[in-house]
C-alpha cells in the first residue's frame, strides 16, 4: 500500500508553537478515526519530541525551525520531527526509572515517547540536526494504550 502524506509543518523554536502542531495533529488523528485515549498518548509523545527539538536541538533560537512530517504508512502512523541543531546522542541519557534518577526533575522526555508510541528512532536529519521518528499502529491488534503495570519490562 503506498504511503499517504498527511501534513508537513515548519515552526519557529518557541514552546507556544507546540500548541499549533497539536491542533493540526489532533484534527488529523481524528480524521484517521483514532480514539480519544490513543490520541492523547500520541499528543503527549509529540509534545515531548517537539519540546526536545526546541529546547535541546535548536536551543530556543527562534530563527531555527522544527520540521514536523506526518504520514500514514500502511496502517502505521509515522511522525518525523527534525530540528536544525548540531545533533544529539540519545544513548548518553540515564534510565529515569533507576533509583538514583527517580527524583531528578528532568530526563523523562524520551522515556515518555518510548512509553506512548510503539517505536521511536533517533537519527541525523537532512540538515545535520536530529530527527526523531515516532511510529504507532493506528489500526489492528497493536493499536492500544501504554502499559501502566510497573512490573512490565
Amino acid at each position: 500500500m503506498p504511503e499517504e502524506h498527511r501534513f508537513h509543518l515548519a515552526i519557529g523554536s518557541r514552546f507556544e508553537n507546540i500548541e499549533l502542531v497539536q491542533v493540526v495533529l489532533k484534527d488529523c488523528l481524528q480524521r484517521e478515526g483514532m480514539d480519544k485515549d490513543a490520541l492523547e498518548w500520541v499528543d503527549l509523545a509529540v509534545r515531548e519530541a517537539l519540546a526536545n527539538a526546541i529546547k535541546h536541538g535548536n536551543e530556543q533560537n527562534p530563527t531555527k525551525q522544527v520540521h514536523v512530517d506526518l504520514r500514514v504508512e500502511a496502517e502505521e502512523l509515522v511522525i518525523r520531527i527534525e530540528d536544525e541543531g548540531v545533533g544529539f546522542d540519545p544513548t548518553r541519557l540515564g534510565d529515569p526509572l533507576a533509583p538514583e534518577n527517580l527524583l531528578r526533575p528532568n530526563g523523562r522526555g524520551i522515556f515518555y515517547m518510548k512509553s506512548f508510541m510503539d517505536q521511536i528512532e533517533y537519527g541525523a536529519g537532512l540538515g545535520g540536526g536530529t530527527m526523531v521518528t515516532l511510529r504507532k499502529r493506528i489500526r489492528g491488534p497493536k493499536a492500544e494504550s501504554p502499559q501502566t503495570d510497573s512490573s512490565q519490562d
Binding site: E16, E48, A51, L97, R108, G109, P146, T148
Partner: protein
C-alpha cells in the same frame, strides 16, 4: 494553566486547572509552590483534578516541588489525579514517591 490557593485549617491547597506543560504551566506551578513555601506553609496539598495534560516538564516540576518541600521539612501531597495523570505517574514509577489521595477530605485528614 490556572492556579488558585486556598486554606483548609492549616493545610494550604493549590487547585490546578489546565495544562502543565513546558514553557507555561510548568513555570506557573514552580512559582506557586515557591510562593507557598516562602510563606512558611508546611502542609501543602495539590489538587490535580483539573489538570488536562501534563508533560515531562510538568512532572519534573512536581518532583522539584516534592523535593523542595521535603528539604524544608514540609509535606507535599497530591489528590484527585485524573486517569491519564495517574497512568503517567505509574509509568514513571513516581506513584511510589508521592502521597496520593482520591479526595480532598482524605488528603486533608492525612496531615493530622
Amino acid at each position: 494553566m490556572d492556579v488558585s490557593k486556598r486554606q483548609v485549617g492549616d493545610v494550604t491547597i493549590l487547585d490546578l486547572k489546565g495544562k502543565i506543560t513546558i514553557g507555561t504551566g510548568d513555570v506557573q506551578l514552580r512559582n506557586a509552590v515557591q510562593d507557598v513555601m516562602n510563606s512558611g506553609a508546611n502542609k501543602v496539598l495539590i489538587n490535580m483534578g483539573g489538570v488536562s495534560t501534563i508533560d515531562s516538564s510538568g512532572i519534573g516540576e512536581l518532583v522539584s516541588a516534592y523535593t523542595t518541600a521535603t528539604n524544608r521539612g514540609a509535606k507535599l501531597k497530591l489528590y484527585g489525579l485524573p486517569d491519564k495523570v495517574s497512568d503517567i505517574l505509574t509509568i514513571t514509577q513516581l506513584i511510589t514517591v508521592f502521597d496520593v489521595y482520591d479526595n480532598e477530605g482524605d488528603a486533608v485528614r492525612s496531615f493530622a
